[in-house]
């Protein structure tokens, strides 16, 4: 494009001569999912959305939702084998090429969680584990002391540990210092759909923890997910918001786009918040008009 044909930019736009395109980095360089992957321990994912499988009404509904979400990592729980059950969630994940993330849901002690993680590693052949040690069945809030104990044991045993934790920045930092590959603070109680109740704590966590921070629990809709990413989360984990939505696959697509939008916004660097307006149109160059005689009164 030459100087003579270049369209006039908006007021304030930089008016440099164009340089040949080949020598200029794309304005979006480094922001595509392939260039900006989620790395957890030794595992790399281009999708930053971790899905759960709980609550899906059928394997076909689950398959549709997982496909629409674009997820590459999805949780399962470990339970007693029921030989009467035909077809398993594992076959769905295998068919979709989605990596499996076993959790320790339902464990109330560090010992139960550690044994469940070891059984999951044996059954599924993965070192990934989403560590959950629950303190209370009504709130399903995590027990921070037992979680720290179990995390230390599992890290020492070679696991890639992703612990579910509260939104307490101190606990999150301690878990990362123990060697957890990521931390997964809750936005609000599991299944509540209340979103991120304390965004300030999330900001403190993402600023202080040197490992990926993944929102776990509480997302109800797409804006919750976008907010998490804007606050600096590296990813989002959710299940109920999709599987219990009226149209799970449609919500899964919304979550996929919200993760992407929030991530791009975080990379872009948002404008600072201000108390008062800042004009976006030029302040000078206004016509001199008689404010007492607008044209339409003539």
């Amino acid at each position: 494009m030459t100087e003579t044909t270049r369209p006039t930019g908006p007021a304030g736009a930089t008016d440099r001569p164009d340089t040949p395109a080949a020598t200029v980095a794309s304005p979006l360089a480094g922001t595509s999912p392939g260039e900006d992957p989620l790395v957890i321990g030794g595992h790399t994912f281009t999708s930053r959305l971790i899905m759960g499988t709980g609550g899906a009404t059928s394997h076909s509904a689950l398959r549709a939702a997982l496909t629409a979400s674009g997820t590459e990592l999805t949780t399962v729980a470990m339970r007693r084998l029921d030989p009467g059950v035909q077809g398993t969630v594992l076959s769905v994940l295998s068919e979709l090429g989605v990596a499996v993330l076993p959790n320790t849901a339902g464990c109330y002690t560090a010992g139960e969680a550690v044994l469940t993680a070891r059984l999951a590693r044996e059954a599924l052949g993965t070192d990934l584990v989403k560590l959950e040690v629950i303190a209370d069945e009504r709130t399903l809030l995590p027990d921070p002391v037992a979680t720290l104990d179990a995390a230390e044991e599992l890290v020492d045993d070679g696991f890639t540990v992703l612990p579910y934790c509260g939104d307490d920045p101190v606990v999150a930092v301690r878990l990362a210092e123990l060697g957890c590959a990521a931390v997964m603070p809750l936005g609000s109680p599991i299944g509540s759909g209340l979103g991120i109740r304390n965004p300030h704590n999330f900001r403190l966590i993402t600023e202080r923890v040197g490992v990926p921070v993944i929102l776990d629990a509480g997302a109800g809709t797409a804006s919750d997910v976008a907010l998490a990413m804007e606050l600096g989360c590296a990813g989002v984990m959710l299940a109920s918001a999709v599987t219990r939505a009226q149209r799970p696959a449609v919500m899964a697509a919304a979550m996929r786009d919200a993760v992407r939008a929030g991530r791009l916004a975080a990379l872009a660097g948002r404008i600072p918040r201000r108390h008062f307006a800042e004009a976006s149109s030029p302040q000078d160059g206004m016509a001199h008009l008689d404010p007492e005689r607008p044209a339409f009164t003539s």
Partner: protein
């Protein structure tokens, strides 16, 4: 924790009745089983799954999709057929289900 041995009446598996040795009583996923002395963990798991064990892990690595714990310790799959069960043992056989 429930003690399955305290509530379940004794039931003798066929192989236990046909051998002279005292049968072994154990808990398998919370239910009492009686098996012949010398029965291995591999046989206990095979009886439970009835040949319907889920196969394959989602990440494509070699794993059977099930795992067994004997008295709160994982027994690797390769050791099942050389691990005899003993009276009073607690066996848990787990697999992946929808969750999280």
């Amino acid at each position: 924790m429930n003690d399955p041995f305290a509530t379940e009446p004794p039931t003798f598996a066929a192989q236990a009745r046909t051998t002279g040795a005292a049968p072994v009583r154990l808990s398998v996923n919370g239910a009492v089983r009686e098996v012949a002395a010398g029965t291995t963990l591999a046989a206990v798991v095979a009886e439970l799954t009835g040949g319907n064990a889920p196969v394959g892990s989602a990440d494509g690595r070699r794993a059977a999709g099930i795992a067994a714990a004997l008295n709160e310790a994982v027994v690797p799959r390769g050791a099942w057929d050389r691990t005899p069960v003993r009276d009073g043992d607690r066996v848990e056989v787990l697999t992946a289900v929808q969750g999280g």
